[in-house]
């Protein structure tokens, strides 16, 4: 297909569908989750969200001037995402997990692995790889987040956005995150950067799927 965004969609489509069709993800979207499992999931997601901006910052600091537009994109995106871990914290509070307990939570091996990978690939592989992480997380949040939030809301009898503010936050069209991500991805030149982005998206889809599978 034509541009790099579509190439990325195609290259990672099966990984996206592997997430979508994993029995746990299927069940979560169709019927929601028990409160225990939803707590486990949010506790893992908290770690990923908490490290999202530091990973972006690490990448931004290493991006060469030839890709300065990506650096500026990351600055803006970090500003938008700043504080979103608090949304996860609020949702956890709504389902009975005190914020004070968050620092003592020990992330799963899959969560640690994907966070570690994201730092490593930004540092050692190619800093543009951060766009692969953003793509995978944005697809999961925007494409599946709305349905997942609805299912959890129904299964746990939550009211409004209480308890699902984070997972439902990227599902509306007005955020335009995917539009901006497509636009910046289509500016990325060079096989090395593009391959690193595809690899990062695949790894992030894979590990988020594992995180779901393990809850």
């Amino acid at each position: 297909m034509g541009d790099f965004f579509m190439a990325l969609v195609e290259s990672t489509d099966q990984a996206r569908r592997d997430f979508e069709t994993h029995p746990v993800a299927l069940g979560a979207v169709a019927d929601g989750l028990s409160v225990e499992r939803y707590r486990k999931l949010l506790l893992e997601l908290y770690q990923i969200v908490w490290h999202f901006n530091p990973v972006c910052a690490a990448a931004a600091s290493r991006i060469p001037d030839s890709h300065r537009q990506v650096r500026y994109f990351l600055y803006r995106h970090m500003q938008e995402e700043s504080g979103h871990e608090q949304w996860v914290g609020n949702d956890l509070e709504a389902i009975g997990v005190a914020s004070a307990t968050l620092p003592s939570h020990r992330p799963s091996a899959s969560t640690l692995a994907v966070i570690g990978y994201n730092y490593w690939t930004a540092d050692r592989r190619d800093p543009c790889s951060v766009l692969g992480m953003m793509y995978a997380l944005e697809v999961i949040a925007s494409v599946y987040g709305g349905a997942f939030a609805s299912a959890v809301r129904e299964s746990l009898l939550l009211v409004g956005d209480r308890g699902v503010s984070f997972i439902g936050s990227h599902a509306t069209m007005d955020t335009e995150h995917m539009v901006h991500l497509r636009e910046i991805l289509n500016t990325v030149e060079g096989d090395s950067a593009r391959q690193a982005i595809v690899e990062s998206a695949l790894v992030n889809f894979e590990f988020v799927t594992r995180i779901f599978a393990e809850i």
């Binding site: 297909m1 034509g2 541009d3 965004f5 579509m6 969609v9 195609e10 489509d13 099966q14 996206r16 569908r17 979508e20 069709t21 299927l26 069940g27 979207v29 169709a30 019927d31 697809v139 925007s142 494409v143 599946y144 709305g146 349905a147 609805s150 299912a151 599902a171 509306t172 069209m173 007005d174 995150h177 995917m178 539009v179 991500l181 497509r182």
Partner: protein, 315 residues
Amino acid sequence: MNVPRPDSGIPGLLARPYRFLRLEWTSDLALLRVRTCVTPIQCFSLAGIAEMQRVLDDISLNPGLVRHLVVSSDVTGVFNFGGDLSLFSLLVRAQDAESLRLYGRKCIDMVWWLETAAQRGVHTTVLVQGDTLGGGLESVMPFHKVIFERSAQAGFPEVLFNLFPGMGAWHYTIRKAGFAVANDMVLSGKLFTAEQLYRRSLVDLVVDDGRGEAALDHVVRSIDPRLRGTLVALQGQRLAAPITYESLSATVDLWAEAALALTTRDLRLMERLARAQVRKVGGADEGALHEIKRIELDTAWGEERTGITEWTTLG
């Protein structure tokens, strides 16, 4: 079932490692049977489309080898749910018209192959044994013979979320059943039983559940002795009521533009359908068809519309 020696075209085709298709070869009829299985949600995923197109291309590259192409689904209760709704959602959220167009073109490339199959010396038959929606129904209509088992239901629900079926629905419904039926089917978003589709000339044969395989065998074996004449006649039929690739392609362009205008509400309705598909996959009695009925009823109540009485007859 005889598999030819691995040095000819068909064995090469059969030997390919397919993930979403299961192929069988019946040598006395030169019949290639393709069973689709895009698990767990049977739809037109990019990878599924690519595999099907590879099969069609392989048939084209080996002219004369395949006389009959027969397609059915390996997924119980589902023929095909149509487009990959999550992929649509992704591309709409990215406002990526070009990728939507390219996806649509991949779909009409399959449609076009079926439209021109007689010219390639291939007679095509499809057996539908479960729900088929949107693009799933569009994919059925270009086949020369369409067989439905009695419990199968089908429809074009796209209008319920402010879209329309853009990969041949208008063309083939108009050709087979006329404008009035096409308007009714595409603009209402209603579901139709196998019998209703048969009465509208969109299905050639309705058989009782479990009798589909026997019907397939009967159809293919009755056509095979007069295949040359049938194929020439079918080419003539298509000359008499032509459908062009350009027209299909222009419709895809319109569909892609329309998709870009979908709102959050429209995407939510799509997501409801997707969730319902998932429930069906999970073994629930109610699936996408029931959800369509609910969406239509919700819409009708919300907008105080009328004309939904047929829904009650389809439960």
